[in-house]
Structure formats: C-alpha cells, structure tokens
C-alpha cells in the first residue's frame, strides 16, 4: 500500500517506518539502531520528556513533508504511534 506526502511523493508504510526510526535514532544518541523499533516507548525506553518529543516535528516536515500538530505529538507513546501519526496524515491515492 502506498500513500502520498504533502509534496506528492509516494511512500510505502515500510518506508515511512524506516524514515521515522531514522529520525528518532538521530534524536536519541547512543541508542543502538536495533534497539529502536515500532514498539520502543519514547518516554520509558528512550527517556524523552514531554517537550523533547516536539523535536520530531521539524525533521518530519523536512523528510516526510507532513505537518504534525504539537498536541498530537505530546500524546505519542511509542515509535509506532509516531509512524501511525505520519502515515495517517498522508494522502490515500484515489
């Protein structure tokens, strides 16, 4: 299944997942690549506090061309939630 980002680029769900995990990994220095999966909890496993999660907004806008609302980001629990948030924001092709 494919969806389009805000600039019309086509993405698969796997591609979105890999891109999001790359962003999360860049914001979590020291964590091994294999330790970050969709099940990884942003707060308990990576130690992000509430406001640190807002740092994903800018790179997601730059890479995946989607504009996430801050309030939605504040409520994210896992990397999988973030992947779903981005995927659900993308346009479903007609």
């Amino acid at each position: 299944m494919r969806r389009k980002d805000g600039r019309g680029h086509s993405w698969t769900d796997g591609g979105v997942e890999r891109a999001v995990i790359r962003i999360v990994r860049r914001l979590s220095p020291g964590f091994a690549r294999k330790r970050i999966t969709k099940k990884t909890r942003l707060h308990q496993d990576l130690g992000w506090d509430e406001y640190y999660a807002l740092r994903v907004v800018k790179p997601i806008r730059a890479t995946l061309h989607e504009e996430l609302e801050d309030r939605a980001v504040l409520d994210l629990r896992t990397v999988g939630d973030l992947v779903a948030c981005v995927w659900n924001a993308m346009e479903v092709p007609a």
Partner: protein, 248 residues
C-alpha cells in the same frame, strides 16, 4: 518537646494521559492531574495527600494537588488551564497556596515559549498575587536536556528561564532533573526568583521505589521560600504511594 512518634501515610493519586491521537487533535481536550501544575516535572509527580499522626495530637493532612486541562489552539500552539492547592491542616494558612492559571505554549523549535497568567493566594486569602508570566526552555540539544544522558545513564534535566510581572518584575529560573534506575526514581526541581533585588529559592524533591505496579515507597521533601508570601517553609514526608500516570 513533642515525641517524634509520628506515622505518615501518603496516598498518591494521579491520573492523566490520553491515548495517542490522530494528527488532527484540534478540538480535543485532555485532563491531567498531578502534584502541581507548575511544570511538567511537577505535573508528572503523583498528587499527594499525606496524613500525619503525632502523639497526643489530632490527625493532620498535607495536600499537594494540581489539575490541568489542555487543548489545541493551532498546529504549533496549545493552551493549558489549571488549578492547584498546597494545603492541608498540617500547614499553617500562611504556608498554604491556592492558585489558578492559564498558559499558552508556542513551539518555535529550537525553543518552547510559554506565556500566561497566574493567580495565587495564601490559605487565608490574605495575600494575593496576580502575575503575567513569560518563560522559555530549549527543546533539547545538550546531553541530558530533555532526554537521558545515555542509554546507561537515565538522568535528564530541563531548564526554564522567565519573568513574572505583577507587583513588580520578577525574573526567575527553574531547573528540574530526573533520574530513573530500575525500580528507583528520583527527582528534584529548584526555582530561584529575583525579588526586589534579593534572591529567593524553593526546592522540592522526591525519591520513590516501585514495589509493584503503581505502588511505591516514596520520600518527598521541600524547602525554601515560594510565592505569594515568600515565607520560609520546609517539610518531609515518607510513606506508601500509588500512581496512575503516564511517565515522562
């Protein structure tokens, strides 16, 4: 001298959090309950109701609770409105605090800015203050700022600087730090104000050991001068706690 045969029971109640939302969260609201609304750190601490029994005296209570309602304003901003109480029969009225506030956040990566207004009164409502506040914190960028120092060192910190404008201008700085290791959690938060050319500070901290699920043994303490009366106060509590809150 009163015998130091006291027993403390901490009942910690906290609730908060909503499931992850869809990107369009405008119009949705969330209720958070915690130790205070003064900061994210305080909000994520459990609300506390401490019952203290000292030999020969009645049962005393010490209450610290804050509640926030949070909602979206726009993609990059949200609003919080809150109530808090620092009260109980064990605290003299002058050391009790009741407050209400409204605060608007605007994310301007790499910083987060918050502006708002806060009303505070002492227990007898003899001393009031109504302040406008503006404060900011960097979202991250330094080791441990907002996230663990490393996968092995579960320590993080967050600074805020700001100013309150009410009966004069009162610059302040706040620093909070958390440490988590297995079942052990510890946190400390210090706020320092510049009031009429002299400094005031207030520090509070807690250490909790998780027994099972949301049940903890918790020690908490506070010391210093806080608005609106700036009266020196200090207390220490120890007991069992219960928490139902999302962890930050």
């Amino acid at each position: 001298m009163k015998a130091a045969a006291g027993t403390c029971l901490l009942l910690m109640l906290a609730a908060g959090g909503a499931p992850a939302q869809q990107p369009d969260s405008l119009g949705s609201w969330e209720l958070l309950v915690g130790h205070s609304y003064s900061s994210a750190r305080a909000l994520m601490q459990p609300a506390t109701l401490t019952l203290e029994k000292v030999q020969g005296s009645p049962l005393y209570s010490v209450l610290d609770v804050g509640a926030l309602v949070r909602g979206s304003l726009a993609a990059r901003s949200w609003i919080e409105m809150g109530l808090r109480a620092r009260a109980g029969s064990a605290r003299p009225e002058s050391q009790q605090v009741y407050g209400a506030m409204a605060r608007v956040y605007r994310e301007l990566d790499p910083v987060l800015v918050a502006v708002g207004g806060e009303y505070q009164a002492d227990g007898g409502f003899d001393v009031h203050s109504l302040d406008a506040t503006a404060e900011l914190t960097p979202l991250g960028g330094l080791p441990g700022l907002g996230t663990w120092v490393s996968p092995a060192v579960h320590l993080r910190w967050r600074p805020w600087i700001g100013a309150a404008v009410g009966d004069g201008v009162r610059p302040y700085a706040r620093l909070s730090a958390d440490w988590v290791q297995g079942r052990l959690e510890a946190g400390i938060e210090e706020t320092a104000w510049l009031v009429s050319g002299s400094g005031r500070s207030f520090v509070k901290g807690d250490v909790s050991v998780q027994l099972v699920g949301g049940v903890f043994v918790t020690a908490s303490g506070e010391l210093g001068r806080s608005p609106p009366t700036w009266e020196r106060s200090g207390r220490f509590g120890l007991g069992l706690g219960f928490r139902l809150a999302r962890s930050h």
